[in-house]
Symmetry: C2
Subunit: 380 residues, 2 copies
């Protein structure tokens, strides 16, 4: 069926025009429905705008997670960041949503910085570069305002004392056949990349290991990472742990026509380290849903659904729904043209990112406070 | 050629009657010749009995190692122990030889205890069991008398902070194709076992990493482990490190007819933890090169070449060549029968192992002193 083959979604490649309804079927996940939203809202006291806007749109086992929650077994949070570059607005969206979850559910959060993954999958990337970006990305996490008492940064190559002994328990239950089928590996893949998924599985049960009882885990992440947890969800019960619940987000459109935000393409997105002049230039050059000329646009209105500026408002800069609706209305009606809209976005982005950058610089001294604590090396 | 297929030698399987001349050809190693022995003797001041007796019989690049030595670039030592059970006489032979090398060449020594390997390759073995044996095996190392200032114990699952970041540098350069060809992996192998060889490669350049310059490495090990270093010797130069030199030992015959010493078969060998009554029983039941009856043996003499008692003298209990020659002569001439010989062996083994066990118990407090020191977990 050629229509099914028009897009490819793996942890290392997203190609083609993704049909989310088909993807959900292909991966065997569930759409987040009104009932689940109501359940989240009931316990959180409100609904985050990224849920309201359908940016988080799919899930696995979140009803089980809330069953446990209602029985008095609250969950913890886990997700990751692949440090091959600086943090962009898409990554920040994940931090913003996860921080909201931590605030509302008062729960521990583990962020795994997979410097090993990026090193193993990118031939030209050195481990020291990945470690550099891991530290830089961690600053964005801290600047987002996570609770230092409840937040644990894992850097794979630093925390191997904790992660490796658990990862080999996962690895022992995954054959090369399975890894091949799920990730599309061939005989040419290096043996580190084949092993890597074992590391990504560990934080999905690490908190249970640390506290000595089974605590449900919730993983908010972009849907391309789902493959890792299809495997992990199969293995974890064999080790006596719960399958993690997952909240999937959509891919985020980049600033150019048809592309996606990509850490390896600086022009594809606003990055948290961008200075005002770069923000201005990127947004001025961004692809919009404008028409051929001003007169036509006054008549037909703009098209936010294909615009690359609009998602920036949706994801980060305009959390208030009434404000976003008003702006959308002014665009669709032809009242506001792209030039004005870009200037609004430049102002909002500059203010937001300048403030973020101040918090980010202050975070440099706090990095060690956020590191996951490990046992001393000693043989009892 | 069926004759080539009569034996199989991999790190996880030794099958059939090993033809060492063929094995050396198959693996592409070199026999240790008189010239190399003379070179070792010249620098060590003497020749160890395990070299004189041809127990260490094959090598890779030891002439390069001594070229460097003579230029003022001395080597360090590395080998490993797979902790799936207690230490037997065969393992002890490796410690005894390596300690002699350390004494004579005053060099650092790294012992890698591969608890991860044993866990990943033995389905029924738990990691805690492998860790238990790793600690027990370490006691035998300490009891052998290594210099605590120059000896570094690595337990893979404890020292992953140090080993994993280096292992992924090795792993990045090994494809599944290569691992498959060298180790005979199939799609059914678990992804941890496929990755493992990367861990075994690390101590072959770890000392160079720690001191910040290329130091030659010498690995005295049983020839079945050679496959790991065929791969490592290919990868290390790509990372800027030297190929390690290797000294290969033969497999050691077990106490039963035709078998080999095996950590997973308690009756196949004397173990360092065996109490006197077990030593006595094992040696009394051991297979010998005796004849059908006493009269025949008096006439024809015994056959040390097929006896399972004789190797125990060769390997550990009679290091003095003149004493061993005298005993062999008494056997071959028919003067000494197997009963007497077994009693001699029981006395020597009991004395040796009882002394060893005393030192072994005292070693329990010293384990932490021998552990490889690691950097603190901190992000600078």
């Amino acid at each position: 069926m050629p229509s099914d083959e028009e897009f490819v979604v793996t942890p290392w490649e997203v190609k083609g025009d993704v049909d989310y309804a088909k993807l959900v079927k292909q991966f065997g996940t569930e759409l987040i429905d009104a009932k689940l939203l109501a359940r989240i809202e009931k316990h959180a006291g409100e609904l985050h705008y990224l849920l309201q806007r359908g940016i988080y749109f799919s899930h696995r086992d979140m009803n089980f997670v809330f069953d446990e929650y209602e029985k008095g077994n609250p969950f913890y949070l886990y997700n990751g960041r692949g440090p091959s570059g600086h943090t962009h607005i898409g990554h920040l969206t994940q931090f913003i949503f996860t921080k909201w979850m931590q605030d509302k559910f008062k729960c521990p959060y583990y962020l795994q910085l997979t410097d090993d993954e990026k090193f193993l999958f990118k031939f030209e990337l050195e481990l020291d570069q990945a470690r550099f970006y891991a530290k830089e990305n961690a600053l964005d996490l801290i600047a987002t305002g996570f609770d230092p008492k409840k937040t644990h940064l894992i850097m794979d190559s630093y925390h191997a004392r904790t992660i490796y002994p658990l990862a080999i328990h996962v690895a022992k239950r995954i054959t090369f056949s399975t890894a091949k089928a799920v990730f599309g590996f061939t005989n040419s893949n290096n043996i580190g990349s084949i092993f890597f998924t074992s590391f990504q599985a560990v934080p999905a049960f690490l908190h249970s290991v640390r506290v000595g009882r089974n605590v449900p885990c919730v993983i908010p992440l972009a849907i391309d990472q789902d493959a890792h947890f299809r495997v992990a969800r199969d293995v974890l019960p064999k080790l006596g742990y719960l399958k993690p619940g997952i909240l999937h987000s959509r891919f985020l459109p980049g600033l150019q026509q048809g592309g996606k935000m990509s850490a390896s393409d600086p022009d594809s997105a606003l990055f948290t380290v961008d200075p005002p002049e770069v923000i201005k230039k990127k947004l001025q050059n961004a692809f919009t849903g404008g028409r051929g000329n001003a007169a036509e646009q006054r008549k037909l209105g703009g098209q936010p659904e294909i615009c690359s500026i609009f998602p920036n408002y949706q994801l980060v800069f305009i959390p208030q729904q009434d404000k976003l609706d008003a702006l959308e209305q002014r665009c669709r009606s032809g009242e506001m043209l792209c030039g004005e809209c870009k200037n609004i976005c430049i102002d909002l982005a500059t203010k937001f990112l300048t403030d973020h950058q101040k918090r980010r610089e202050k975070a440099r001294d706090k990095l060690n406070d956020f590191l996951l604590k490990e046992d001393e090396l000693s043989i009892e």
